[in-house]
Symmetry: C2
Subunit: 328 residues, 2 copies
């Protein structure tokens, strides 16, 4: 029952041509007469032949595969990102080798898989990456682009939203509306996204001499929900809650609803990411929209068009504020 998959040689035999010719038919830009091309394609179709990507990758030193690493996090933002990456990469002829890790840091072991399959580049979305691993990737000449992460010590490209400025814009909006009792709920504090959003937000108010309240969250709904609930129960009912991402803001929103606090009349809430859930009719969360599609495009571009770029490029894209029903 050993049914070996059919190869170019098989097609060649039936078409009375050499294996080279078959190969040329399937290589764009190669020289083949129209007559033989037709004949070969016909037989190929009949035999259900498709060139073997492994063999092709071996000889051409080009696999058309990209590694995508993601951390196990409950943020739908990354699922939307994942979908966009795979679709856009496929449109460019690339396949995606996917790794989901539950570790805080992408492990060597997981990167090794990418290396063994000779991926042409690696995209790391929300996970961290040790500089040791990055060095190893550099040694192997494999470009890496961090998506939505930035690390000043790592020698690799990165694409993210300009979190600091976005947070400043939000702060400005809040300030100009006259609010003064303000709470920021952080995400995981070891992520650049949370740190930068906090920085931008705080810097603005510091400059105005206004003290704001920081609650330390972890980018999960639950944590944010309980933090907010606790705060209300302890007697503090702020005018503004800015969550480090949408999930965080939604957790706070639900806690406020449960306490029968009127939104946006008594407290306004602002999130960050513009995940699909934020436009659910019961939430209608005001939020900062990351230019997700552009970020994805730029990441792919950076990774594939000039892979020899050793010097790191850091891209910070803008976004825009979306007013929904949790702000006035």
């Amino acid at each position: 029952m050993e049914k070996r998959s059919i190869s170019a040689k098989d097609v060649a035999k039936l078409a009375n041509v050499s294996q080279s010719t078959v190969s040329r038919v399937f290589t764009t830009g190669a020289s083949v007469s129209e007559k033989t091309r037709k004949k070969v394609l016909e037989i190929a179709e009949e035999l259900n032949y498709r060139p073997n990507a492994l063999a092709r990758g071996l000889i051409k030193q080009k696999t058309n595969m990209v590694g995508l690493a993601m951390k196990d996090i409950q943020n739908p933002f990354y699922h939307e990102v994942l979908g966009m990456f795979t679709q856009k990469l496929r449109a460019k002829g690339y396949s995606v080798l996917f790794v989901y890790t539950e570790n805080e840091e992408i492990q060597q072991d997981e990167i090794n898989h990418f290396l063994e399959y000779n991926v042409e580049g690696i995209i790391v979305t929300d996970a961290l990456l040790s500089s040791k691993v990055v060095t190893k990737l550099h040694d192997n000449n494999i470009p890496v682009t961090l998506f939505n992460r930035y690390h000043k010590d790592l020698e690799c490209n990165s694409v993210s939203c300009d979190n600091i400025n976005a947070a400043k814009e939000i702060a400005k909006y809040v300030y100009e509306k006259g609010y003064r009792d303000i709470v920021f709920i952080t995400g995981k504090t070891n992520t650049s996204t949370s740190r930068d959003r906090q920085k931008g937000f705080m810097d603005f108010f510091n400059q105005k001499g206004i003290q704001i309240t920081i609650l330390e969250g972890d980018y999960t709904y639950d944590k944010s929900y309980y933090l907010t609930k606790g705060m209300i129960e302890s007697g503090h009912q702020p005018e503004v809650i800015f969550g480090a991402n949408d999930i965080t803001a939604i957790g706070a929103l639900d806690a406020l609803k449960e306490k029968n606090i009127s939104i946006p009349d008594e407290t306004i809430i602002i999130g960050f990411d513009n995940i699909k859930m934020s436009s659910w009719p019961s939430y209608m969360l005001s939020t900062w929209a990351q230019p997700m599609e552009k970020m994805v495009d730029e990441t792919i571009n950076l990774l594939l068009t000039d892979p020899k770029t050793i010097n790191k490029k850091v891209l910070k894209l803008n976004g825009y504020f979306i007013h929904r029903n949790t702000t006035k």
Copy 2:
């Protein structure tokens, strides 16, 4: 600057052995003396050598890759599933070639990628698959397992929850509690999951001579939210709402909350899937838990341990009811 990646030959040269010996060091079960193994490993480490998976796949006719296809749907259930699949497959030494499709049906074009890379099997989660495509996969001797889908005309394995029975159990619970004004909100009606859950639920009540209300949803939050809202506004406030999945139930839940209907006192709500979101403190949705981990294990098992199985195996696993705060 053309830095070719180092091969077994390079290691062999420095270790004063043949390329075969280097290969044997990296092949489990091959015969190598302890002394040379040590020497080779040392040099390999130094040169940062890793065997090329493409070449290995070519010669062994075994790529250690599995194709995973998923449809672009807003259901977090599948994201949890995705994470579990990739982690479990990696633990078994497999890499995951991932395809995300926005089409209703997985296209030939997308499957071709899998074929070209010689994946050892394909897992299709929530998308549909034409029988033409399945036939082609059979021709190429590539096993397919449908996850959470079942299609009687398709000659491939499938693993899912026993949706009919689960829905019957839920119906039984509802019936025995004495409820009689009952609504079922469907998912996409062309999915086996929605159809089976509807069937199990309806069959039970039909047998009791009880008429229930069917609202045709599409597995999205929005649709379910608006359906429920419309129903309430039209004057119908049921005792029970059973959603074809958790997202559906949550949409209904939010609509009821907005209408100030007390849950579970006036209306109880039941979902299906037990996604993480259903245990969020503001929802605490009662739901039917699919045995996700077991389903994933069985899928992998079916796909990889006996790939020569042409005759399809259909596995239907049980689950269990989880009582939270939306039932009494």
